[in-house]
């Protein structure tokens, strides 16, 4: 699986990407289509646009940190190979 870095991607492009996936953003946080902040289900914090990970498994949106990614792999297996 290819891993696409979002580090250098513009805010506008990230918002368009989210929109294509059925989400939105207020410019700081990732929001659901209904406008609710998307919460990282593993560390239970709102996901910020500038630190997000979008992973397969329907669409799993997480904060970019080792605890969330390890928890994700525990749940979904090592899908990144």
């Amino acid at each position: 699986m290819d891993i696409v870095s979002l580090k250098e991607v513009s805010k506008e492009s990230k918002i368009l990407l989210l929109k294509e996936l059925g989400y939105q953003s207020d410019g700081e946080f990732v929001l659901s289509n209904a406008g609710q902040k998307v919460i990282d289900k593993y560390v239970e914090i709102p996901v910020k646009l500038n630190n997000m990970a979008i992973l397969p498994g329907s669409t799993v949106i997480l904060d970019d940190n080792e605890l969330s990614i390890t928890s994700y792999i525990e749940e979904y297996g090592d899908v990144f190979q």
């Binding site: 891993i3 696409v4 080792e66 390890t70």
Partner: protein, 226 residues
């Protein structure tokens, strides 16, 4: 999406400062994402670090003996903490998230793995030639009751407090193995307590790992025959 396209994106981004994606490009990326051919993340290095630790020999070893999924997750996070040893900001961020989610016990379990305490603890158990079943039980009991079996020294700790806390924990719980750990300045404070602790805990053999990290293992001696 191929890796080559991704690399060209990086070059473009580096040149322009910020990478702009066209609507077509985004549609193609989303198509590949839905086919599970790619994932997005701010820092791909996060995934690299996690996978490296997840697939390491040490992780695979613990996977055999730790059946509790939450404990195993914390152990794996400990391996990630060790990997982030020289990246203070990322390491502190991970510690904060760990503490917020799993409280002090979760943080302590991960720190024991990070500092190599768990691997030495398992080594001591193996030297005692206990059965595989007992090894599993001992590791899980140690991790589940981490606060009964360990004392983590803070840089603010006082020598008298350390001795008092260690005495209370050992007398209350009579652990087979008790670990006292201090890192950096906390390790220096612990170094000053070593002689007193060795004198107080006569029923235990002491094993010491010293250096930047000061780690003391107190292993209960076989009672003498009367």
């Amino acid at each position: 999406m191929s890796s080559n396209n991704f690399n060209s994106d990086i070059i473009e981004a580096t040149t322009k400062g910020v990478l702009e994606w066209s609507a077509d490009r985004i549609s193609n990326l989303v198509k590949s994402f839905k086919e599970r051919k790619l994932a997005f993340i701010k820092e791909p290095k996060t995934i690299e670090i996690v996978r490296e630790q997840y697939n390491s020999g040490e992780s695979k070893f613990y996977q055999i003996y730790i059946k509790n999924k939450q404990l195993l997750l914390l152990v794996r996070i400990g391996l990630a903490l060790r990997r982030l040893e020289k990246e203070d900001e990322k390491r502190q961020n991970l510690r904060d998230k760990l503490f917020n989610k799993y409280k002090i016990e979760g943080l302590h379990i991960a720190e024991l793995v990070e500092n190599g305490v768990l691997s030495r603890y398992v080594g001591i158990l193996i030297e005692k030639l206990i059965s595989i079943e007992d090894l599993e039980k001992e590791i899980e009991n140690f991790l589940t009751n981490i606060e009964k079996h360990t004392l983590f020294i803070q840089w603010t700790s006082k020598k008298i407090e350390i001795i008092k806390k260690a005495t209370i924990k050992i007398n209350s719980n009579s652990p087979h193995i008790f670990v006292i750990s201090g890192v950096k300045s906390a390790g220096n404070i612990l170094k000053e307590c070593v002689d007193d602790l060795r004198y107080i805990f006569k029923e235990y053999e002491m094993e010491r790992i010293t250096g930047e990290k000061e780690i003391l293992f107190f292993i209960r001696k076989m009672p003498e025959k009367y």
